[in-house]
Structure formats: structure tokens, C-alpha cells
């Protein structure tokens, strides 16, 4: 797994320049989608990850401008901390809700931040503002290709490490308790585990990932605006998570890359209709690959090593109906 991450990072050396920033965005979107997958294991889908994405981005931009921090890793950590702190504040409050109410509340909170950001003229209102190019460990990159590669490598390695961490989490006590909460939170309470606490921890992890991804998006675009917190942005992250399916960590990255490729190609050949393409793509995936693109290669693997810790989320309704 770690070798795979290192290989992916080095692969950036041979990639053409235009794909580097695309892959950086794909890696940061994959990081958020990974957070959504982690949270989805408790049975809750957040439609408002844009909240932490924007919190991370704006937090980094403000702190970087105030203290002159330009280091890419430091900015990523600041973004993760901003997202994580906000997640820790909101988590306990939101953990009481489930299903559609959970989704709508997270969406509502991200829209509150959006509304506040649009009206805050000190932060550039709806236009946002720009920041400078990031550095790494004191090295200043003057060549744009080198700078793009540095950012690509940092984001791919971060997402890869997050993926490794997620795999460990899935097998841990907390990860298994999360699945139990999804099946029946009351029974989990009877066993002496606080299901609200399980949801809060997973929610905070998802928020940390989203905050770090916000920092990457900021560094890649060197610009931030309230669109980070808009609900359609959050919708795209859920889209990546669904496209990936809830079974494989690698699938999240593949799905995110697929989305970015579809987006840039439809931008090129079908301008103004990429949402249409995206919508049809999403419908096709839900219809024909109900367990995500991960099921394309996981199915063979499952025959050999059956892994009971990663059942698909789809079909939960039938299981509930069958009970």
C-alpha cells in the first residue's frame, strides 16, 4: 500500500504538466470522499462536507496571510486542524440525528457558512481572494512545473497515508463499532458503547480530511471563494463517494480521478453541459454499478478472501425491511 503511494507520487514525474493540477484536485477530492466513506460506515451521509472544505481553505488562507506561512505541509496541517476543530464542535450536536435529517442539517450548516462568507466583504465577499504559491521545507519553487509536481506529490502522499489510516481504522474496534451503529444504534447503546460518540469521532475524522483537502484545493488554485461551501460542491464529494462504492480505499482515488477527467473533457468538448454529463454518469453508476466502481475488481477478490468488515451500504433498506 505504502509502496503503491510512493509509486503514484513518483509517477507524477512522467505525467504531462496539465494533468498534474488535475491529479492534485482529484487527490484532494478523494481525501474528502474518503472521509464521507468513513462517516457512511455509521449509516450517515454528510451533504455538507463543503463546510469543512471551506473552513480549511479559509483558515489556511487567513493564517498564511497573517503569519506568512507558505510551507505546503504546514498549510495542509493548519487546514486539517481548522476542519477538525469545527467538526469536534458540530459533531456532538449533529450526532443525535440520522438519515435524511443528518444530511439536511450538514447541508444547512454549510449553507450558513456560505451565506456568511458571501456577505463578509473583509474576506472578499463572493469574489474571494488570492494567496501566494506554496513552498516546501524552505525550498522556493520558481519553475511552475516543479511547484505543480511538489503539490501533486504532497497531496498524493497525504491522501495515500489517509487511505492507509482508513484501512487500519476499518479493522479497529471503533471501525467495527461504526458498522454496528449503522445496523442498530440502540443495540449498540445496550452493549455499553455510546453510539453518539462513535458518530462524533467518525464525523471529526471526516472533517479533518475535508479541512486538509480544502488546504490542497486552495494551494492548487491559489484562490478561494465562498463556492467552496456551496451545497453543489458538497454534492460532488458525495458523488465521488458513491462512484467509489463503500468497499475499497483505492476505488475512492480512481473515482475521483474519473470525475475530474469527465469534467475536464466535457469542459473541452461539451462546454456548459458538463453537469448534464455528470448527472447521466451518476444515474448510470447507481443503476448499473450499485456498489460503485470498486465492485469491478473487488468482486474477484471477495471470492478468495471474504471480508465481512466491508459490506455495501446499498441494500440497507432491504435488510431493515427484512428484519
Amino acid at each position: 500500500m505504502i509502496l503503491l503511494v510512493a509509486a503514484a507520487a513518483l509517477f507524477g514525474r512522467v505525467l504531462p504538466t496539465w494533468t498534474l493540477s488535475l491529479a492534485t484536485i482529484a487527490a484532494s477530492n478523494a481525501l474528502i470522499a474518503l472521509g464521507i466513506v468513513i462517516l457512511a460506515r455509521t449509516g450517515n451521509v454528510s451533504f455538507g462536507q463543503g463546510l469543512f472544505y471551506a473552513a480549511g481553505g479559509y483558515g489556511v488562507a487567513l493564517i498564511a496571510n497573517a503569519w506568512g506561512i507558505t510551507d505546503a505541509v504546514a498549510q495542509m496541517l493548519i487546514g486539517a486542524i481548522c476542519g477538525g476543530l469545527l467538526g469536534l464542535v458540530i459533531g456532538p450536536f449533529i450526532a443525535r440525528y440520522s438519515g435524511i435529517f443528518f444530511g439536511m442539517l450538514t447541508l444547512a450548516l454549510s449553507m450558513v457558512l456560505y451565506g456568511a462568507l458571501v456577505k463578509t466583504t473583509a474576506l472578499g465577499g463572493s469574489d474571494g481572494f488570492n494567496i501566494g504559491r506554496p513552498t516546501l521545507f524552505g525550498i522556493v519553487f520558481t519553475d511552475t512545473r516543479e511547484a505543480d509536481f511538489m503539490l501533486y506529490a504532497v497531496s498524493v502522499i497525504t491522501t495515500g497515508l489517509a487511505g492507509v489510516a482508513a484501512r487500519i481504522l476499518f479493522r479497529s474496534e471503533l471501525g467495527l463499532a461504526s458498522l454496528a451503529v449503522r445496523e442498530n444504534n440502540l443495540r449498540v447503546e445496550y452493549l455499553g458503547i455510546s453510539s453518539n460518540w462513535v458518530i462524533t469521532i467518525n464525523f471529526t475524522i471526516a472533517a479533518i480530511f475535508a479541512g486538509a483537502a480544502g488546504a490542497f484545493a486552495l494551494m492548487a488554485q491559489r484562490h478561494i471563494d465562498p463556492q467552496f461551501a456551496y451545497w453543489t460542491t458538497s454534492g460532488e464529494f458525495v458523488f465521488v463517494a458513491v462512484l467509489a462504492g463503500y468497499q475499497s480505499v483505492a476505488a475512492v482515488f480512481v473515482a475521483s480521478l474519473a470525475l475530474e477527467l469527465v469534467r475536464s473533457f466535457s469542459n473541452l468538448y461539451l462546454p456548459n453541459t458538463w453537469q448534464l454529463v455528470l448527472g447521466i454518469f451518476l444515474l448510470a453508476v447507481i443503476l448499473f454499478l450499485p456498489r460503485g466502481i470498486g465492485s469491478l475488481w473487488i468482486r474477484q477478490k471477495r471470492k478468495r478472501t471474504y471480508n465481512p468488515t466491508l459490506p455495501p451500504l446499498a441494500g440497507q433498506a432491504q435488510r431493515e425491511a427484512a428484519q
Binding site: A108, A116, A314
Partner: protein
């Protein structure tokens, strides 16, 4: 005193069309258990169709009153057809799947309709102001109001009453209520649930588009219309309780008043106010104001 009256009247005008849209959303959720993200797109669709009809009528030198009626009829016909086709052709394929999967299906429909409206009507603002002057202006306690705006309040109240009456006092309505209450039991009693689903979804789309048509003369139609409306109507139905007609009415009045008050008192806090109310309601009544607590399986 006049100041408060302004806020209340503005709030009620806002509430009137928001109520019609939210009523559709809450009905669709009640019957199909789908939270329809594409609902805002149907609002936009209604507004665009209304604008086209009004412009066509005006081009033939027919009176604006005819334009007003023609736009309502055109929207009603097209919207209910679109709704029923969509339910039978697409949503039907996903029944029995997870709630969240259905949410994503409607999100995909939202994305498709968003670009479809752009392809049909373009990205430049469209206006349909002719019916707006239809009802003149009215002086009310020293304030001047556009008659059209004031007319919206009784009109939407009438729509709400009709829906309430239709649901509670007619056989068809009782059948719909039965499906809302317990779908399996209705099937075993011989109710054609599929037909109820199609009709309910069509009616929900109709209400959303009607809300769009009624506001069309007041606003300029441009891309982005749908996502603002869906956010507002979500807040309304969550405040009132998903699936409740009375809840939609109370939620719409609360949201309308909150919007009007924040526009007059502190414009920065407009969205914030609405979600503050929503969060406050959910804090004390997690299922919304008008939803009875249901027993759950342990």
C-alpha cells in the same frame, strides 16, 4: 408600527409562494419517502415555461390577463406530464434502495435539469413582467403595494386549503393518506400504490412549477434560480416536519417572516436567520413541529 406592518406583509408575500413550493416537496416526501433535490429545478422549469407563455401571448397582442391564465394552464399541463414521466421512467427503477441513494438520484436529475434549462432558455436573464401590472397597486395602511404581490397571499392560501380538503375530505385523498401511513397495508387492501406514487409525484412537481409560475412575473429568470429555492424549501419542510401540510404552512410563514425581517433589519444575516430557526426547531423537536413521534424497532 408601519415598519412592523411592512415586515409582516413582505413576509407573508414571501411565505405565499414558498408555501406552494414546499407543499409539493412535503407531499412527495410523505407519499414516496423521497427528499427531492430536483424540486427546485421544477420550480425553475415552471418559471421559465411561464415566461415563454407570457411572452408568446404578448407577441400576439392578447391581453395580459389571458397571459396570466395561459401561463398557469401551460405550466400545470407540462409540469404534471414531466413529473409522471419522470416517476414512471426513472424513479421507479430505484425503489427499495437506500434513502440516500434516492437522494442522489434526485441530485442527478437536478444536475441534468440544470443544464437542460440552460440549453433551452440560454443563460441570459429572461423577464415576463406583463402580468405583474395586472392587479394595479393597492394602498394599504399608508403603504403602497403591488396588487399582484398581495393577490398571491389569498391565492396560495386557497391552494393550501384545496390540498388539505382534497387529502382529508375526498376518497382519493384518503387513499393517498392511507399510502402515506402504511404502504404495505394499502397494497393488501387493493390500493394501486404505483398509481398513487405517479400521481403524487406529478402533483408535487405541479405545485413546484406553479410556485415558479406565480413568481415568474416578479423576478428575472436565470441559471442558479433552482438551487436557492431548494435550500429554502428544505428549511421550510424540515421546520414543519417532513410530510405535513400544516407544517409546510407554518414553516413557510416562519421562513417568510424571518427573511423579510432580516432584509429590513440586518441584510447580512438573511440565510443565517432561516437556518437559526431551523436549528432551534430541530433542537427541541427533532422531527419538526408537526410530526408525531413514531415507534421504532429496537
Amino acid at each position: 408600527m408601519n415598519f412592523f406592518l411592512t415586515i409582516i406583509l413582505d413576509g407573508l408575500i414571501q411565505a405565499s409562494w414558498l408555501f406552494v413550493v414546499a407543499l409539493g416537496l412535503t407531499l412527495v416526501f410523505g407519499v414516496l419517502k423521497i427528499l427531492n433535490i430536483a424540486h427546485g429545478s421544477f420550480y425553475a422549469l415552471g418559471a421559465y415555461i411561464a415566461a415563454t407563455t407570457v411572452t408568446m401571448v404578448a407577441a400576439h397582442n392578447l391581453p395580459p390577463s389571458f397571459g396570466f391564465l395561459a401561463m398557469l394552464v401551460a405550466v400545470a399541463l407540462i409540469a404534471s406530464a414531466v413529473g409522471i414521466l419522470l416517476e414512471r421512467g426513472l424513479l421507479k427503477l430505484f425503489y427499495g434502495r437506500d434513502e440516500v441513494v434516492l437522494l442522489l438520484v434526485t441530485y442527478a436529475v437536478f444536475l441534468i435539469l440544470e443544464d437542460a434549462t440552460k440549453l433551452i432558455w440560454g443563460v441570459n436573464p429572461i423577464y415576463a413582467t406583463q402580468p405583474y401590472e395586472l392587479f394595479g397597486s393597492v394602498e394599504f395602511a399608508g403603504l403602497y403595494y403591488v396588487g399582484y404581490d398581495l393577490m398571491l397571499i389569498p391565492l396560495s392560501a386557497a391552494i393550501g386549503l384545496m390540498v388539505w380538503f382534497g387529502l382529508n375530505r375526498t376518497i382519493t385523498g384518503k387513499i393517498v393518506l392511507a399510502v402515506i401511513h402504511n404502504q404495505e397495508m394499502s397494497v393488501s387492501m387493493g390500493v394501486r400504490v404505483n398509481r398513487v406514487y405517479a400521481v403524487a409525484f406529478g402533483f408535487g412537481v405541479l405545485l413546484a412549477s406553479l410556485g415558479g409560475a406565480l413568481t415568474a412575473p416578479k423576478i428575472s429568470m436565470q441559471p442558479g434560480l433552482s438551487s436557492d429555492v431548494i435550500i429554502l424549501s428544505f428549511a421550510i419542510v424540515v421546520i414543519g416536519g417532513l410530510g405535513s401540510v400544516e407544517g409546510a404552512a407554518v414553516g413557510a410563514v416562519l421562513v417568510g417572516l424571518a427573511r423579510a425581517a432580516s432584509v429590513h433589519l440586518m441584510p447580512q444575516a438573511e440565510l443565517f436567520m432561516i437556518y437559526l430557526i431551523m436549528a432551534a426547531v430541530l433542537m427541541f423537536r427533532p422531527e419538526g413541529l408537526f410530526k408525531r413521534e413514531t415507534a421504532r424497532r429496537i
